[in-house]
Each structure stands twice: as structure tokens, then as C-alpha cells.
Amino acid sequence: METFRYLPGTSTLVLDTAACVGCGECSLVCPHGVFLLTDGKAKIVDIDGCMECGACAVNCSVKAITVTPGVGCASYVLKTRLKGKGISTCGSAGCC
């Protein structure tokens, strides 16, 4: 989504190109067009578009993608800091 950009240089997304088998699932499921399939391998073409939703990693059958998934929600982050992880859910925070 080119019109909306968030803080650059923060994404935890890493692609192990050597392990990639070029199935193309990552480029299919990514809602921000972060991946592109070129020459039978996936390639990260827009790392700052990544919102760390984790769809690519979940659907990589050879585990070539790692990312720390989560929700980019300030009130959720605040709640986990105040109450501890696991207790708070992002449900009542309003976003999800």
C-alpha cells in the first residue's frame, strides 16, 4: 500500500534465500506486496511495507521465512507492558 508507510527499518522479516524453493506462497499471501518471485526464488522487494502479520512465515513450507509476528497496536502493547503478556488480549483494546 504505497499511500501509507510506517516507520522504516523496523521489520523483523528475514528470508533465507538458500532455503527458498520458489513456491510463491509468500508473494501470494502478503497483503502489502513485500515479496516478488524472480528466477524461481522469492525476493523481499519492499521490507518497509511489511507489517509483520506473519502470513508468509506461516505459509512457507520449508520455513525459509522468519518474522516476529504480532499486532501493530499501541494499546495492546501498552496493556501487555502493564499487565503482562497472556493476560491482555487485543480484543477489548478496540482494534481487533
Binding site: 500500500m1 516507520l7 521489520s11 499471501v29 506486496g33 502470513a55 501493530g72
Partner: protein, 466 residues
């Protein structure tokens, strides 16, 4: 245990072992068969195995009784899981006398009689047109038009009040006139999600497999692992989908990919996941293009309309915190040279409350609307900016009455509230990453706290030395 009968039952109901086991344990005291089978060493986990018990065996009579009860109990939950209640054919209404309502002066005209599709103990959704017969039982056929009750529900959910627990029963539905070659669309059981899908399916013959996502939309449910690999697999099996369609394909919304591993679904239930478009209004186009999505179908958007839809819920969720803030405002504003003054609490409290209100508007309304136009990319900065302009207005409004210092405190207060609420809007956008939000918060929170502290300090000082 007592051999052949048990094994047979378990073969006819392959998925029933865990249910059977749960019941068996509970059942034991009920049928009062002393010491039989309860001291099993292993048989409990393998009901189809024969003669692995080391305790005394029960008499054939007793076991037959157990068998009967087990069988009746076992069938109960399974039938509910696999198929909706059987829909009886309506009686021949020609033979049944019907009473014509007589017009009278008693209030309003009576509503129409109950539909023949209704069943005692169940509530019939107005979107169910009829039930169609399938190899796995009756499947509801849904309409593609939203009626008044659907639209009312949507409005309530959008306003926030009825957003939680706005859900439909998971399971298999149909639209149009589907057959064994028709596509299967998988979706969430949030009613808003279901409605936005079915209203786009006019003219399409398809099956709709609704997952139990606890009334949460596709993307959020996927993030919470409710729209999950496991849920897809178990719902496919529970619905008996393999008896309904010849093909082995499921169309899942692309945004469910956060919770669903396509390769694992294929591995565990044999159905191939086809990633459908993100938005329901692309579904028909996607199917008619031979299950092909173009780039716009695959990428999320955040249009002005989409942002506007979120504002009511943002405001709705601020009810409680806003009340707490008002209470704090009254207390802090009331602190005066004579310790506490109610009149000061109100007169100065009104000023601070107006600042709070403006801060809420600039942070939770103006920022979402102007989001792409405001400089950033950090949300707290966008909110501080709109808050500053709002704060100038508030300070100007109270300048004569409050004086320069107190007006400055109001200006800072509006800016902080707005900045904080704008930061909270990150959770409602489809593009902010958790790492980014953490980074933003590390920067923002200390600044917001410092500014809030300064505003409160100035407000207190101006109150004490008034």
C-alpha cells in the same frame, strides 16, 4: 472391553472416540455397574481393542445396558455437530384449519405467523431462505440481500455497542443452487463478515463454510489463531464436505493466511487451499477469472470510507477512560488556595473538560480522516500536530478567563490527549507493524508523560495562586 459391539460402533463413527471416552468415564457411576472396566489399564484409550482389561468383567446384561446408553448419548452430540436439525416437510396446509386474525382495537396489527422453517429451541436467522437436502443433511440456503435487521445489526456493530458476540452459527451454508462441483468459500462467523460476503454472491452457486472464529472478523481472528489451520481442518471434517463436493478445493480469504498454513490443510484434510481475494466484492470476479486475483485484489487498502467506518468504535471505546479523565479533571481543577473548592472544580473543570473533548476530536476523529495527509510516519506526531491546532483554539477560547499560563496548560493538555489517541489508532490500521509501534512508543510515551506532567503542574500552580 466387551468386544464386537464396541468395535462396530467405533467403526461406524470414526471420529467419535474422544466423545465416547468422555461419556464413558462420566457414565460409569450412573449405570451402577460395580468395578467393571474402571480399573482398565489402557483400554480406555483404545476403545476398539478387545480384552485389555485387568479388572473383573461385567455380565453381558450389564454391558448391554451400558452399550445402549452409550450409543444413545454418543449419537446425540454427533448429530448436532454434523448436521442441523432435520427439517420436516410442512404439513399439507389445505387440510389444516387456520384462524384468520380478526381486526380489533387492541394495539397494533399482529406480526406474520411463524415460518414453517422454525424449530422449537432454535432461532431462525432472517437470511435463511430455505433448507436444501444434501448427503449430509439439511443445509441452509442464504439470501444475498441484506434486510432491515441485517442493516440495523451492522449499524449497531459499527457504533460499538453490539460489536462483541455478533455472530452466526458455524457450519455449512449454501448460496444459489450449488452442486458437487460448486466452489466452497470459507469465512468467519462474525455476522458483519458473513453479511459482507453473502451480499456479494448474487447469482453465484456456492457452498459457504463458516468457521467458529468466536464472532471475530477474518484478519483479527487469523491473528489470534482462531481462523486457524486446525479450525479449517476440523470444520471441513465436521461438515462432511467430502460428501458434498467432488473436488478438493477450498477458497479462503487471503487475510486468513496469518492463521492458516495452506500446506498443512492439504496434508491433514486433503483439501487444497486457494487464496481468494482480500475483499468479498472481488469474489465473483475472482471465480469467473478462473481463480486468479490481480494485484489490487491481493493488497489491503485503507480508504477514507474505511477509516470513517472505524471512528464510531474508537469513540465508543473511550467512554470509560473519558469518564475517569473527567473525574480526575474535576479533582485537580478544584485544588485551590483553601485546599479544595467545588466552584473552582466546576469553573476550571469546564475549561479542562473542553480541552479533553477537543483532544478526543483531534486525536480520534481528525487523525483518522486526515491520516495520509498528516506528516509522520509516527502516529503520535500526527496526533500532536492536530492536537496543537485544536489546543490553540481551546487556549484562545479561555484566554481572558484563565490567563496566559493556564491557557498554555490547556494547549499542552489537548496536544497530549490527541497525540496519545492518535497513537492508539495504530491498532485499527492495516499497515502498522508491532516492531514499528514499539519503536514509536519508546519515543512517544516519555514525551507524552513529560508534557502531561507539565500541563498538570501548570494547572495546579495557576489554581493554587489564583
Amino acid at each position: 472391553m466387551n468386544g464386537p459391539n464396541d468395535s462396530k460402533d467405533n467403526q461406524t463413527n470414526p471420529g467419535s472416540a474422544p466423545i465416547l471416552l468422555g461419556l464413558q468415564t462420566e457414565l460409569q457411576p450412573m449405570v451402577k455397574v460395580p468395578d467393571q472396566g474402571h480399573s482398565c489399564c489402557g483400554a480406555a484409550n483404545t476403545p476398539s481393542q478387545e480384552k485389555t482389561c485387568c479388572g473383573p468383567t461385567a455380565s453381558p446384561d450389564q454391558m448391554q445396558k451400558v452399550d445402549q446408553i452409550l450409543k444413545s448419548l454418543m449419537n446425540e452430540p454427533l448429530r448436532q455437530e454434523t448436521a442441523p436439525p432435520p427439517v420436516q416437510e410442512p404439513l399439507d396446509t389445505q387440510d389444516v384449519p387456520t384462524a384468520e386474525p380478526v381486526e380489533s382495537c387492541c394495539g397494533y396489527a399482529p406480526p406474520p405467523p411463524s415460518s414453517h422453517l422454525e424449530r422449537p429451541g432454535y432461532q431462525l436467522w432472517s437470511f435463511v431462505d430455505k433448507f436444501i437436502s444434501t448427503p449430509v443433511g439439511q443445509v441452509p440456503k442464504v439470501t444475498t440481500v441484506l434486510d432491515k435487521s441485517d442493516i440495523q445489526g451492522t449499524i449497531m456493530a459499527r457504533l460499538g455497542g453490539a460489536r462483541d458476540n455478533y455472530k452466526i452459527c458455524p457450519g455449512l451454508y449454501s448460496v444459489g443452487d450449488p452442486d458437487q462441483d460448486s466452489p466452497v468459500l470459507v469465512t468467519a462467523n462474525y455476522k458483519l463478515t458473513f453479511d459482507s460476503l453473502r451480499k456479494e454472491l448474487d447469482g453465484l452457486n456456492a457452498w459457504i463454510l463458516v468457521l467458529d472464529t468466536r464472532g471475530i472478523n477474518v484478519w483479527c481472528a487469523a491473528g489470534k489463531k482462531l481462523f486457524s489451520t486446525e479450525e479449517v481442518i476440523s470444520r471441513v471434517k465436521m461438515s462432511g464436505l467430502h460428501n458434498i463436493v467432488k473436488h478438493k478445493e477450498l477458497i479462503l480469504p487471503q487475510l486468513s493466511a496469518t492463521g492458516v498454513s495452506a500446506h498443512l490443510v492439504k496434508k491433514w484434510c486433503g483439501f487444497k487451499v486457494i487464496w481468494g481475494p482480500i475483499r468479498a466484492n472481488d469474489v465473483k470476479k475472482f471465480i469467473s477469472a478462473g481463480m486468479q486475483a490481480d494485484k489490487p485484489m491481493r493488497q489491503v487498502t485503507f480508504t477514507t470510507a474505511e477509516r470513517l467506518e472505524l471512528i464510531p468504535v474508537e469513540l465508543y471505546l473511550l467512554r470509560k477512560p473519558a469518564l475517569w479523565a473527567l473525574a480526575a479533571i474535576f479533582l485537580i481543577s478544584g485544588i485551590s488556595p483553601g485546599f479544595f473548592s467545588f466552584s473552582a472544580g466546576f469553573s476550571r473543570g469546564i475549561m479542562a473538560a473542553s480541552a479533553l473533548l477537543v483532544g478526543i476530536v483531534t486525536g480520534a476523529v481528525v487523525v483518522p480522516i486526515l491520516l495520509p495527509l498528516l506528516p509522520g510516519p509516527a502516529f503520535y506526531y500526527k496526533g500532536a500536530l492536530t492536537g496543537f491546532f485544536g489546543g490553540v483554539l481551546v487556549a484562545g477560547l479561555w484566554w481572558d478567563q484563565a490567563g496566559a499560563m493556564a491557557s498554555l496548560a490547556l494547549l499542552i493538555f489537548v496536544t497530549v490527549i490527541s497525540s496519545f489517541l492518535a497513537m492508539n489508532f495504530t491498532g485499527s490500521t492495516p499497515f502498522t507493524s508491532p516492531s514499528g509501534v514499539e519503536k514509536e512508543m519508546r519515543e512517544a510515551i516519555p514525551r507524552q508523560m513529560a508534557a502531561l506532567g507539565a500541563a498538570v503542574a501548570i494547572w495546579l500552580i495557576t489554581g493554587l495562586f489564583a
